[in-house]
Symmetry: C2
Subunit: 263 residues, 2 copies
C-alpha cells in the first residue's frame, strides 16, 4: 500500500540557455527538487530534512537515487548527513552560491532589487577587468569568435528569444579570452544575469537593440588591444544592463502591488 508517485517526477522547466548542466537521470530531478526547496527556504539552515525512508516514499524513488541526490547536494555545500541526526541543511555561509545549479535555484522563483544588486556587483568586478585582460591576451581565433557572436546578435536583435544565445556567448567568450580558468568558471553567473534580463525584458519594447552599440564598442576595443578602453566600455554596458533590469523589477513589483490593492 505504498503511496508512491506523490510528487510527479518531472523535472523543473528549467530555463536552459546553452551551457546549462547537462545532468540527466532520475537522480537529477531529485537534486533539483530538494535543492530548490532548500535554497528557496522550505528547509531553513539547521533544520533536518525528512528521513531517508520518508523522502523515498514521498518522492517515489529508491534509496539509491535519493542517496545520490543527497551526496550531490552535500558536494555543493547545502547539506550534511550524519547518523542518528539525519541530514541537516548547512548554514547559508557554507553554500556554494557560485555553483551553476545553486545559482539557478537561487533566482528561479524571481528576483528582488537586492538580488539584482548582488549579481551586478560581482559582474562589475569581473567583467570589465576580464575585458582588459582579453584585449591583451586574446588569440585571433577568439577575436573571431567574439565577432561572430556579435554578428549573430545584430542579425536577430529583434527576436528576444534568439538574441539570448549569442549575447551569452559574447560575454562568456570574453571571460574565456582571459585565459584564466577561474574566471571562466564564472560563466554561470553571467548566464543567470542574462536569463534574468530576458525574463524581464517584456517591459522593454524595442528588444535588445539598444545594447548593440555598446557591445560593438567592447568588441572593437578588445580587437584593437586597447585594454583600458575595453574595460571602460564593458563597465558602461553593465551599468546600462543593470539599470534595465532594475527598472523592470520595479515595474513588475509596482504592478503586482497595484493588483493586490485592487483585489
Amino acid at each position: 500500500m505504498k503511496n508512491k508517485k506523490l510528487f510527479s517526477a518531472t523535472r523543473l522547466p528549467r530555463f536552459a540557455l546553452a551551457t546549462a548542466g547537462a545532468a540527466s537521470g532520475l537522480h537529477a530531478t531529485v537534486v533539483d527538487q530538494i535543492g530548490l526547496r532548500i535554497v528557496q527556504g522550505d528547509f531553513p539552515p539547521g533544520e533536518a530534512l525528512p528521513t531517508a525512508d520518508d523522502s523515498t516514499e514521498m518522492l517515489g524513488v529508491s534509496r539509491t537515487v535519493l542517496r545520490e541526490a543527497i551526496k550531490v547536494l552535500a558536494g555543493k555545500g547545502l547539506v550534511e548527513s550524519r547518523p542518528r541526526t539525519g541530514t541537516r541543511v548547512r548554514p547559508r555561509a557554507d553554500w556554494n552560491f557560485l555553483d551553476p545549479d545553486v545559482l539557478s535555484w537561487r533566482y528561479a522563483a524571481g528576483v528582488s532589487a537586492d538580488d539584482v544588486k548582488a549579481l551586478f556587483e560581482l559582474r562589475r568586478a569581473i567583467e570589465p577587468m576580464s575585458a582588459a585582460l582579453a584585449a591583451q591576451r586574446a588569440t585571433p581565433e577568439q577575436v573571431a569568435d567574439l565577432n561572430a557572436a556579435l554578428a549573430e546578435m545584430e542579425e536577430v536583435c529583434d527576436d528576444g528569444e534568439r538574441f539570448a544565445k549569442p549575447d551569452l556567448l559574447f560575454h562568456q567568450t570574453i571571460l574565456r579570452m582571459t585565459g584564466n580558468e577561474l574566471i571562466g568558471s564564472l560563466a554561470a553567473l553571467v548566464e543567470t544575469a542574462l536569463i534574468m534580463s530576458f525574463r524581464l525584458s517584456n517591459d522593454n519594447p524595442g528588444g535588445q537593440r539598444h545594447s548593440l552599440p555598446l557591445h560593438r564598442e567592447v568588441a572593437r576595443k578588445i580587437a584593437a588591444g586597447d585594454g583600458a578602453g575595453a574595460q571602460k566600455a564593458l563597465l558602461v554596458l553593465i551599468d546600462n544592463a543593470e539599470e534595465d533590469v532594475r527598472r523592470s523589477v520595479e515595474n513588475r513589483n509596482r504592478r503586482r502591488a497595484e493588483r493586490e490593492q485592487t483585489s
Copy 2:
C-alpha cells in the same frame, strides 16, 4: 579471489585550514581520489573512466559508494555518465573551478608561476572591491570580528602554523561584510591562495610579520567607513602577497632545477 584494497582507502592528507568541506565517509575518499586524478590530468577530458565494475574492484568499494562519488563529480562539472558509453571526463571549460574541492585538487600537487598569476588576478578583482563595500555596509559586530582576527594575527605572528587561521578569517570576514552571498562564496579562493602562501613561506624568514601593518591599515580604513581607502590598502596588501608567493615559487623552482642538474 577478489583483489580488494588495491588502493588504500585513506583520505588525502588534505590541508584543512578552517572551513574546508566537512564531507566525511567512504564515498568522500573516492571523490577525492578520482577528482584529484582527473584535475591533475590522469584522465584527460574526453577520455572514459574505467567502467563501474573495474573501478569498484580497483578501489575496493561497492558500486553504491562509487556511484555516489561519480554523481558528486558530475555535480561539479567534471564528468558525465551515459549508458553504454561509460563515464567520460567533460571539457575543462565545464569544470567548476570555483568549487572548493576542485580548487584544492587543482593546486594540491604544487603551483606554477601561471597558477599564482591566475589566483591573484581574481583576488585582485574581488577583494579590494569587497573592502570598499565592507566599509560602507559592515555592522559593528562584523567590525569587531575583523579586529578580533587582527588581534589574533598580531599575537601569533611568529608562528607560521597558527598564523594561518586568523589570517584566513580576516579575509573571509571582509568578504562576508559585503553582505553579498555570491562574494562570500569566493572564500574558498582566498583559502587556497593563503594555503599556497603558507606552504611556501618556509623561504620567508621573519614569518608573516611584515604583512601585519598592511592588514592593520585595511581594518582601520574599513572601520572608519573609508571605502576608497580600504580598497587601496587591500590592493597593496594583495600586491605584496603575490610578490611573496611569486618569489617563493621562483626560488623553489630554481632550487629544484639545481638539484636535478647536480644529480
